[in-house]
Symmetry: C2
Protein backbone atom coordinates (compact mmCIF):
# COMPACT_ATOMS: atom_id res chain seq x y z
CA UNK A 1 0.00 0.00 0.00
CA UNK A 2 3.03 2.30 -0.30
CA UNK A 3 1.64 3.34 -3.67
CA UNK A 4 -1.48 4.64 -1.87
CA UNK A 5 0.51 6.47 0.78
CA UNK A 6 2.65 8.20 -1.86
CA UNK A 7 -0.49 9.51 -3.62
CA UNK A 8 -1.77 11.28 -0.52
CA UNK A 9 -1.22 15.01 -0.21
CA UNK A 10 -0.81 16.63 3.20
CA UNK A 11 -2.84 19.71 4.17
CA UNK A 12 -2.94 21.90 7.25
CA UNK A 13 -6.18 23.73 8.02
CA UNK A 14 -6.49 26.39 10.74
CA UNK A 15 -9.37 26.29 13.22
CA UNK A 16 -12.40 28.08 11.85
CA UNK A 17 -11.53 27.50 8.19
CA UNK A 18 -13.83 25.73 5.77
CA UNK A 19 -12.43 22.79 3.81
CA UNK A 20 -15.31 22.70 1.33
CA UNK A 21 -18.87 23.99 1.02
CA UNK A 22 -22.06 22.08 0.28
CA UNK A 23 -22.93 22.32 -3.40
CA UNK A 24 -19.35 22.69 -4.64
CA UNK A 25 -17.96 20.30 -7.16
CA UNK A 26 -15.16 18.29 -5.67
CA UNK A 27 -13.42 15.03 -6.42
CA UNK A 28 -11.23 14.88 -3.33
CA UNK A 29 -11.66 12.93 -0.12
CA UNK A 30 -9.73 13.63 3.06
CA UNK A 31 -8.34 11.46 5.81
CA UNK A 32 -8.09 13.40 9.05
CA UNK A 33 -4.81 12.82 10.89
CA UNK A 34 -5.09 15.49 13.61
CA UNK A 35 -7.68 17.95 14.84
CA UNK A 36 -11.45 18.00 14.56
CA UNK A 37 -13.92 18.98 11.84
CA UNK A 38 -17.68 19.24 11.77
CA UNK A 39 -19.99 18.29 8.94
CA UNK A 40 -22.73 20.87 8.44
CA UNK A 41 -25.80 20.28 6.29
CA UNK A 42 -28.66 22.58 5.40
CA UNK A 43 -32.23 21.51 6.12
CA UNK A 44 -35.11 21.81 3.67
CA UNK A 45 -36.03 25.06 5.45
CA UNK A 46 -32.50 26.44 5.12
CA UNK A 47 -31.30 25.86 8.68
CA UNK A 48 -27.63 24.95 9.05
CA UNK A 49 -27.33 21.79 11.14
CA UNK A 50 -24.14 20.20 12.52
CA UNK A 51 -24.63 16.55 11.58
CA UNK A 52 -21.47 15.06 13.02
CA UNK A 53 -18.01 15.84 14.35
CA UNK A 54 -15.06 13.86 13.05
CA UNK A 55 -11.68 13.25 14.66
CA UNK A 56 -8.33 11.65 13.80
CA UNK A 57 -8.60 8.49 11.71
CA UNK A 58 -11.93 9.45 10.18
CA UNK A 59 -12.50 10.55 6.61
CA UNK A 60 -14.81 12.92 4.79
CA UNK A 61 -15.51 14.04 1.26
CA UNK A 62 -15.67 10.49 -0.07
CA UNK A 63 -19.27 10.83 -1.25
CA UNK A 64 -18.49 13.43 -3.91
CA UNK A 65 -15.52 11.33 -5.03
CA UNK A 66 -17.68 8.23 -5.45
CA UNK A 67 -20.89 9.70 -6.76
CA UNK A 68 -19.94 12.41 -9.22
CA UNK A 69 -22.33 14.70 -7.37
CA UNK A 70 -21.73 18.07 -5.68
CA UNK A 71 -20.67 18.12 -2.04
CA UNK A 72 -23.59 17.15 0.18
CA UNK A 73 -22.39 19.17 3.17
CA UNK A 74 -19.97 21.82 4.35
CA UNK A 75 -16.93 20.73 6.37
CA UNK A 76 -15.57 23.26 8.85
CA UNK A 77 -12.48 22.94 11.02
CA UNK A 78 -13.16 23.07 14.77
CA UNK A 79 -9.65 22.27 15.96
CA UNK A 80 -6.56 22.95 13.83
CA UNK A 81 -6.38 19.97 11.49
CA UNK A 82 -3.91 17.96 9.46
CA UNK A 83 -5.49 15.91 6.69
CA UNK A 84 -4.35 13.82 3.73
CA UNK A 85 -6.22 14.08 0.48
CA UNK A 86 -6.89 11.58 -2.31
CA UNK A 87 -8.59 12.71 -5.51
CA UNK A 88 -10.13 11.04 -8.54
CA UNK A 89 -6.91 11.25 -10.56
CA UNK A 90 -4.96 9.56 -7.76
CA UNK A 91 -7.59 6.84 -7.72
CA UNK A 92 -7.47 6.43 -11.48
CA UNK A 93 -3.67 6.17 -11.44
CA UNK A 94 -3.90 3.62 -8.68
CA UNK A 95 -6.39 1.61 -10.77
CA UNK A 96 -3.94 1.52 -13.68
CA UNK A 97 -0.72 1.01 -11.73
CA UNK A 98 -1.71 -1.16 -8.79
CA UNK A 99 -5.09 -2.78 -9.26
CA UNK A 100 -4.93 -4.70 -6.00
CA UNK A 101 -4.31 -1.55 -3.97
CA UNK A 102 -7.08 0.21 -5.89
CA UNK A 103 -9.56 -2.55 -5.04
CA UNK A 104 -8.59 -2.44 -1.35
CA UNK A 105 -9.04 1.35 -1.27
CA UNK A 106 -12.40 1.18 -3.06
CA UNK A 107 -13.60 -1.61 -0.77
CA UNK A 108 -12.64 0.38 2.27
CA UNK A 109 -14.38 3.52 1.04
CA UNK A 110 -17.43 1.37 0.37
CA UNK A 111 -17.32 -0.08 3.90
CA UNK A 112 -16.94 3.33 5.51
CA UNK A 113 -19.94 4.68 3.60
CA UNK A 114 -21.97 1.55 4.33
CA UNK A 115 -21.20 1.77 8.04
CA UNK A 116 -22.27 5.40 8.07
CA UNK A 117 -25.49 4.48 6.29
CA UNK A 118 -26.14 1.74 8.85
CA UNK A 119 -25.77 4.29 11.62
CA UNK A 120 -27.81 6.92 9.78
CA UNK A 121 -30.64 4.42 9.26
CA UNK A 122 -30.53 3.62 12.92
CA UNK A 123 -30.85 7.32 13.80
CA UNK A 124 -33.75 7.72 11.37
CA UNK A 125 -35.41 4.68 12.88
CA UNK A 126 -35.10 6.19 16.34
CA UNK A 127 -36.45 9.52 15.11
CA UNK A 128 -39.41 7.79 13.51
CA UNK A 129 -40.02 5.79 16.67
CA UNK A 130 -40.25 9.07 18.55
CA UNK A 131 -37.12 8.47 20.54
CA UNK A 132 -35.25 11.47 21.86
CA UNK A 133 -32.01 9.60 22.51
CA UNK A 134 -30.47 10.82 19.25
CA UNK A 135 -30.85 14.52 19.87
CA UNK A 136 -27.14 15.09 20.39
CA UNK A 137 -26.10 14.08 16.90
CA UNK A 138 -22.43 14.81 16.97
CA UNK A 139 -21.52 12.70 19.95
CA UNK A 140 -23.72 9.76 19.07
CA UNK A 141 -22.68 9.53 15.46
CA UNK A 142 -19.02 9.92 16.15
CA UNK A 143 -18.99 7.24 18.77
CA UNK A 144 -20.72 4.91 16.39
CA UNK A 145 -18.13 5.27 13.66
CA UNK A 146 -15.41 4.35 16.09
CA UNK A 147 -17.30 1.39 17.46
CA UNK A 148 -18.03 0.16 13.97
CA UNK A 149 -14.44 0.12 12.78
CA UNK A 150 -13.04 -3.35 12.25
CA UNK A 151 -9.71 -4.91 11.37
CA UNK A 152 -11.03 -5.54 7.88
CA UNK A 153 -10.19 -1.94 6.96
CA UNK A 154 -6.51 -2.65 6.98
CA UNK A 155 -6.42 -4.55 3.75
CA UNK A 156 -8.46 -7.70 3.35
CA UNK A 157 -8.35 -9.05 -0.16
CA UNK A 158 -11.67 -8.99 -1.97
CA UNK A 159 -12.10 -12.69 -1.35
CA UNK A 160 -14.81 -14.89 0.10
CA UNK A 161 -15.31 -14.60 3.85
CA UNK B 1 -20.93 -7.52 -18.21
CA UNK B 2 -22.28 -10.89 -19.36
CA UNK B 3 -20.04 -12.45 -16.73
CA UNK B 4 -21.98 -10.50 -14.06
CA UNK B 5 -25.37 -11.45 -15.48
CA UNK B 6 -24.44 -15.13 -15.53
CA UNK B 7 -23.51 -15.01 -11.83
CA UNK B 8 -26.94 -13.75 -10.79
CA UNK B 9 -29.42 -16.24 -9.38
CA UNK B 10 -33.17 -15.71 -9.85
CA UNK B 11 -35.57 -15.92 -6.90
CA UNK B 12 -39.34 -15.63 -6.58
CA UNK B 13 -40.74 -14.46 -3.25
CA UNK B 14 -44.46 -14.54 -2.41
CA UNK B 15 -46.13 -11.49 -0.86
CA UNK B 16 -45.82 -11.53 2.91
CA UNK B 17 -42.62 -13.58 2.96
CA UNK B 18 -39.43 -12.38 4.61
CA UNK B 19 -36.24 -12.40 2.53
CA UNK B 20 -33.93 -11.93 5.51
CA UNK B 21 -34.14 -10.81 9.13
CA UNK B 22 -32.12 -8.13 10.92
CA UNK B 23 -29.24 -9.68 12.82
CA UNK B 24 -28.78 -12.66 10.49
CA UNK B 25 -25.45 -13.28 8.86
CA UNK B 26 -25.73 -12.91 5.13
CA UNK B 27 -23.37 -12.30 2.25
CA UNK B 28 -25.96 -11.89 -0.47
CA UNK B 29 -27.35 -8.76 -2.08
CA UNK B 30 -30.50 -8.69 -4.19
CA UNK B 31 -31.55 -6.72 -7.21
CA UNK B 32 -35.32 -6.38 -7.36
CA UNK B 33 -36.77 -7.00 -10.84
CA UNK B 34 -40.48 -7.08 -10.02
CA UNK B 35 -42.70 -6.44 -7.02
CA UNK B 36 -42.15 -4.42 -3.87
CA UNK B 37 -40.34 -5.00 -0.60
CA UNK B 38 -40.09 -2.97 2.59
CA UNK B 39 -37.05 -2.50 4.77
CA UNK B 40 -37.93 -2.75 8.46
CA UNK B 41 -35.59 -1.70 11.25
CA UNK B 42 -35.96 -1.91 15.01
CA UNK B 43 -35.59 1.23 17.11
CA UNK B 44 -33.56 1.47 20.31
CA UNK B 45 -36.81 0.92 22.21
CA UNK B 46 -37.67 -2.18 20.20
CA UNK B 47 -40.30 -0.68 17.87
CA UNK B 48 -40.37 -2.08 14.34
CA UNK B 49 -40.23 0.78 11.84
CA UNK B 50 -40.68 0.61 8.05
CA UNK B 51 -37.74 2.68 6.83
CA UNK B 52 -38.29 2.48 3.10
CA UNK B 53 -40.13 0.67 0.34
CA UNK B 54 -38.20 -0.50 -2.69
CA UNK B 55 -39.42 -1.28 -6.19
CA UNK B 56 -38.09 -2.70 -9.45
CA UNK B 57 -34.52 -1.67 -10.26
CA UNK B 58 -33.57 -1.10 -6.64
CA UNK B 59 -31.29 -3.30 -4.58
CA UNK B 60 -31.02 -4.37 -0.96
CA UNK B 61 -28.77 -6.49 1.21
CA UNK B 62 -25.62 -4.88 -0.12
CA UNK B 63 -24.54 -3.57 3.29
CA UNK B 64 -24.00 -7.03 4.79
CA UNK B 65 -22.12 -8.05 1.63
CA UNK B 66 -19.77 -5.07 1.89
CA UNK B 67 -19.32 -4.76 5.60
CA UNK B 68 -19.03 -8.30 6.93
CA UNK B 69 -21.63 -7.36 9.52
CA UNK B 70 -25.01 -8.93 10.31
CA UNK B 71 -28.07 -7.70 8.42
CA UNK B 72 -29.01 -4.24 9.63
CA UNK B 73 -32.71 -4.63 8.85
CA UNK B 74 -35.44 -7.09 7.91
CA UNK B 75 -36.69 -7.14 4.32
CA UNK B 76 -40.29 -8.24 3.81
CA UNK B 77 -42.12 -8.72 0.53
CA UNK B 78 -45.15 -6.45 0.08
CA UNK B 79 -45.97 -7.39 -3.51
CA UNK B 80 -44.92 -10.73 -5.03
CA UNK B 81 -41.30 -10.21 -6.04
CA UNK B 82 -38.71 -11.45 -8.47
CA UNK B 83 -35.14 -10.70 -7.48
CA UNK B 84 -31.62 -11.61 -8.61
CA UNK B 85 -28.99 -12.36 -6.02
CA UNK B 86 -25.22 -11.88 -5.98
CA UNK B 87 -23.17 -13.23 -3.08
CA UNK B 88 -19.60 -12.85 -1.84
CA UNK B 89 -18.39 -15.95 -3.74
CA UNK B 90 -19.83 -14.57 -6.98
CA UNK B 91 -18.02 -11.32 -6.30
CA UNK B 92 -14.77 -13.09 -5.53
CA UNK B 93 -14.99 -15.14 -8.72
CA UNK B 94 -15.69 -11.99 -10.65
CA UNK B 95 -12.61 -10.36 -9.10
CA UNK B 96 -10.44 -13.26 -10.28
CA UNK B 97 -11.99 -13.82 -13.69
CA UNK B 98 -13.01 -10.36 -14.87
CA UNK B 99 -11.37 -7.63 -12.87
CA UNK B 100 -12.88 -4.82 -14.92
CA UNK B 101 -16.43 -6.09 -14.37
CA UNK B 102 -15.65 -6.56 -10.68
CA UNK B 103 -14.49 -2.94 -10.37
CA UNK B 104 -17.62 -1.67 -12.15
CA UNK B 105 -19.87 -3.71 -9.83
CA UNK B 106 -18.01 -2.57 -6.72
CA UNK B 107 -18.11 1.07 -7.85
CA UNK B 108 -21.83 0.84 -8.47
CA UNK B 109 -22.52 -0.72 -5.09
CA UNK B 110 -20.43 2.06 -3.56
CA UNK B 111 -22.44 4.71 -5.42
CA UNK B 112 -25.77 3.23 -4.42
CA UNK B 113 -24.77 3.16 -0.77
CA UNK B 114 -23.34 6.67 -0.96
CA UNK B 115 -26.51 8.00 -2.57
CA UNK B 116 -28.58 6.41 0.18
CA UNK B 117 -26.33 7.94 2.81
CA UNK B 118 -26.71 11.35 1.18
CA UNK B 119 -30.48 10.98 1.40
CA UNK B 120 -30.35 9.60 4.93
CA UNK B 121 -28.21 12.54 6.07
CA UNK B 122 -30.70 14.88 4.49
CA UNK B 123 -33.57 13.23 6.41
CA UNK B 124 -31.59 13.41 9.66
CA UNK B 125 -30.86 17.06 8.98
CA UNK B 126 -34.57 17.74 8.51
CA UNK B 127 -35.43 15.82 11.67
CA UNK B 128 -32.85 17.81 13.63
CA UNK B 129 -34.15 21.05 12.17
CA UNK B 130 -37.55 20.12 13.52
CA UNK B 131 -39.09 19.65 10.10
CA UNK B 132 -42.08 17.35 9.82
CA UNK B 133 -41.84 16.98 6.05
CA UNK B 134 -40.08 13.63 6.32
CA UNK B 135 -42.70 11.87 8.38
CA UNK B 136 -43.76 9.58 5.56
CA UNK B 137 -40.44 7.82 5.25
CA UNK B 138 -41.19 5.25 2.62
CA UNK B 139 -42.42 7.57 -0.07
CA UNK B 140 -39.77 10.23 0.46
CA UNK B 141 -36.85 7.90 0.52
CA UNK B 142 -37.97 5.87 -2.44
CA UNK B 143 -38.49 8.90 -4.59
CA UNK B 144 -35.05 10.11 -3.73
CA UNK B 145 -33.32 6.94 -4.86
CA UNK B 146 -34.97 7.18 -8.22
CA UNK B 147 -34.10 10.82 -8.62
CA UNK B 148 -30.52 10.15 -7.65
CA UNK B 149 -29.88 7.44 -10.24
CA UNK B 150 -27.55 8.49 -13.00
CA UNK B 151 -26.18 7.08 -16.21
CA UNK B 152 -22.92 6.40 -14.46
CA UNK B 153 -24.43 3.23 -12.98
CA UNK B 154 -24.35 1.52 -16.30
CA UNK B 155 -20.63 1.01 -16.46
CA UNK B 156 -18.26 3.94 -16.37
CA UNK B 157 -14.65 2.91 -16.10
CA UNK B 158 -12.99 3.94 -12.85
CA UNK B 159 -11.30 6.83 -14.58
CA UNK B 160 -11.01 10.54 -13.99
CA UNK B 161 -14.17 12.54 -14.57
Amino acid sequence: MQRVASALEEHDFPAGSTIFHAGELGRTMYLLAQGEVEVIATSAEGKRIALVKLGPGECFGEMALIELQPRSATVRVRKKAKAYSLNNMDLYNLYREDNYAFVIVLQNICRIVSRRLRKADSRICDFLAGSSRQLNPAVGARRSFRRGRSRSDRGTPPGPR
